[in-house]
Symmetry: C2
C-alpha cells in the first residue's frame, strides 16, 4: 500500500498538519521540522494522493480539450501544443474528439458540469450560446481557440485572422499578375458553423476589390470538406469558357483536390494554373504547395496558458490573443502564361 500522510507524520514524529504544510510549501514550518518531515517523505517514497487532494481543495486539477476531427492535421498540431504545455503543471488533460454535432452537444453537456474539470479549451468548434451559458453557470472558465465569432468578446480567445490570411493568399496571386482568381472552400453552412472559410473568403474579396477586380460568382464554389469534392468543384470551374488562372483553396486538403483536377485535365501547375492552399500541413511541403501557414502548435500553447491564468484568477478580464499567419511560397504558384 502506498504511504499516506499519516504514515509520514508518524515516522517523522509530527502531526498531520505539519506534513501537509511541508507538502504545500507553507513558510510557517521550522527549518528543522521541515527537514525531518522531508526525510520521512523520502524514506517512505510518499506522494500525496491526487484525488484526496482534489476533493479537499474542491478542484479537479483537470482540464478538458474539446476538438473536432482528430483526423485533421491542423487539429492535432494544436493539441500537441496543449499537451506539451500542460506537462509539468499539476493538471491532467482529458481530450474529447468531436466528429458529429451530436457528439459535440453530448461532450459540452458532459464537460460543463461542475466538479468535472476546472476549465475547458474549445478548439475550432463554435459553441452555441446555451453551451457558453452553461459553462458560465457552472463557473468553468473556457478558452476558445480558433473560434472567430466577433460577439464572443466576453471569453478568452486565441484567434487567427482568417480574413488577413485569405487576403495574403489572394494578394500573392494578384502580385504575380493573376486576374481571374477562384476560391474553393467548405460550405458556408456546415453543421458545425465553422467560420474560417467565410472569413478567408472575405479576405479574398477584399484583395480583389482593392485591385479593382469585380467578384465573379462563377469563380467561387463551395461544398463538403474533402479532396474529392474540391476536385469536382475545381474541375467544373476549369471547364468554364473563361477559366481561372489561379485557385485559392481554403485548406491544403482541398488544394490537393484542385491539383488532382488540374492533372486530370492535362493542365500543368504552375504554368497553366496556380494553386494556393491553407494550413501548411505536412504533405503541403511534399507536393510543393504554396500555402498560408498558421501558428497551430503555438495556438495550443497560448490557449492553455490563458486557461490556466483564468483558473488561477477568476476575476481576470477575458483576454484575446491573435496569432499571425504567414505566406509560404513554394512551387504551385507562378505568373500566368499570358499575364
Amino acid at each position: 500500500m502506498p504511504a499516506t500522510i499519516r504514515d509520514v507524520a508518524k515516522k517523522a514524529g509530527v502531526g498531520l498538519g505539519t506534513v501537509s504544510r511541508v507538502i504545500n510549501q507553507s513558510p510557517q514550518v521550522s527549518q528543522e521540522t521541515r527537514q525531518r518531515v522531508q526525510q520521512a517523505i523520502d524514506a517512505l517514497n510518499y506522494r500525496p494522493n491526487p484525488i484526496a487532494r482534489r476533493l479537499s481543495w474542491g478542484k479537479t486539477l483537470t482540464i478538458a480539450a474539446i476538438a473536432p476531427f482528430f483526423t485533421r492535421p491542423a487539429t492535432i498540431e494544436r493539441l500537441r501544443g496543449v499537451e506539451l504545455s500542460i506537462t509539468g503543471t499539476e493538471y491532467d488533460l482529458i481530450v474529447f474528439n468531436v466528429e458529429t454535432p451530436e457528439r459535440r452537444d453530448f461532450t459540452f453537456d458532459e464537460v460543463a458540469r461542475r466538479e468535472r474539470v476546472d476549465g475547458a479549451l474549445i478548439i475550432s468548434l463554435p459553441p452555441a450560446l446555451h453551451d457558453l451559458d452553461r459553462f458560465h453557470a457552472a463557473s468553468i472558465p473556457i478558452v476558445l481557440v480558433d473560434v472567430n465569432h466577433p460577439e464572443l468578446t466576453r471569453f478568452n480567445r486565441v484567434i487567427v485572422d482568417d480574413v488577413a490570411g485569405g487576403y495574403k493568399a489572394t494578394r500573392h496571386l494578384l502580385q504575380i499578375k493573376h486576374r481571374r482568381i477562384a476560391y474553393i472552400s467548405d460550405s458556408f453552412d456546415d453543421p458545425f458553423h465553422f467560420s474560417a472559410s467565410r472569413y478567408r473568403f472575405e479576405g479574398y474579396q477584399k484583395a480583389l476589390e482593392e485591385a479593382g477586380i469585380a467578384i465573379d460568382p462563377r469563380l467561387h464554389r463551395h461544398g463538403d470538406h474533402g479532396r474529392y469534392e474540391a476536385e469536382r468543384l475545381a474541375s467544373e470551374m476549369l471547364r468554364l469558357r473563361e477559366p481561372p488562372t489561379a485557385i485559392f483553396a481554403a485548406s491544403d486538403t482541398q488544394a490537393l483536390g484542385v491539383l488532382e483536377a488540374a492533372r486530370a485535365l492535362g493542365l500543368r501547375v504552375p504554368e497553366d494554373l496556380s494553386v494556393i492552399g491553407y494550413d501548411d500541413v505536412e504533405f503541403a511541403d511534399y507536393v510543393g504547395l504554396t500555402t498560408v501557414r498558421q501558428q497551430l502548435f503555438e495556438s495550443g500553447q497560448v490557449g492553455l496558458q490563458l486557461l490556466l491564468d483564468a483558473i488561477s484568477d477568476p476575476t481576470r478580464e477575458p483576454a484575446c490573443v491573435q496569432m499571425q499567419s504567414e505566406l509560404v511560397i513554394r512551387s504551385t504558384t507562378a505568373p500566368p502564361k499570358r499575364g
Copy 2:
C-alpha cells in the same frame, strides 16, 4: 453550489445511504423509495461528484494513453479508436505524447504511480523492463498496443503481425514478377527500439527465400524515419549498376520519399519502378500508393476493451489479440517492364 447527496436525501426525506443505493443501482431499494429519490435527484439536477466517488471507491476512474508522435497519422488513428470507445464509460482518458526517450521515461514515471490512473494503454512504445516492473509493483494493469516483443506474454497485448505484413507486400511484388526487390525502413536501432521495421524485414526475407531469391544486402537500407532520408536512400539504390525494379518501404511516409527519388531520376512509376508502402494513411490514397493497411482504429478500441477488462477483473489472464493487415493495391505497383 451543486447539490450534494445530502440535499437529495433531505428533499426525498430519506437517509444518505438510500440515495447512494439508488445512484449505484443497488437492487435492495423499494420501488417506491427509489422513485421518490429519483424525483429529488431530477428536481435538484443532482450529479454525484466524481472526485468524491473516486476517493471513496479507491479508484481513479481514469486511464492513460501513452503514445509516441502525435504527428504520425497511424498513432492518431489508434487514439481515435481509444477515445471513441471510452465514451459512455465512466472513465476519463488522459493522453501523453512522447516524442523523445526522455519524455517517455518521464511519462512512465509519472503514470506508474499509484492513485494516478487505474490502467495504462501503451501504444507503439516498447517499455523497458523496469518500467513494466514498476507498473506491476503499483498493480496498474497495462495493455501494450503495437508492441511486438515476444517475451511480453505476461501482459495484455494487441499486436499486428508485421512479419506477415512484410511478407504480403513482398509476395505481391513477386507475384507480378519482380525479382530485384529492395527494402527501405527506419533504422533498426532507433532510441525507442521500435520493432516494426525489423519484423517487416523478416517478412520480406521470408517471401524472397520462398521464391528462391537470395537476399542482396545492397537492396536493403535504413536510416532515420522521414521522407527525405528515404528519398536519399532510394536514390542511392536506384543508381546501382543493377537497380531494383521494386521498392518496399516500411511506411507510407518513406514510400513518398521513394516516389520523389524516382521522379527526380526520371523514372516512371509503376512502369520503371514499383513502390509499395505500409499503413495506408490518408495521403496514400491520394498518390495512389499500393500499401499494407492495418486496423489502426480497431486496435485502439480493442486495446481499451482489454484494459477495462483487466481493471474490472485483476485476476484475468493476460490476453493477446492479433490484428490483421491487408494489402491495398493501387497504382504504384505493376509488373516490371522486362519481366
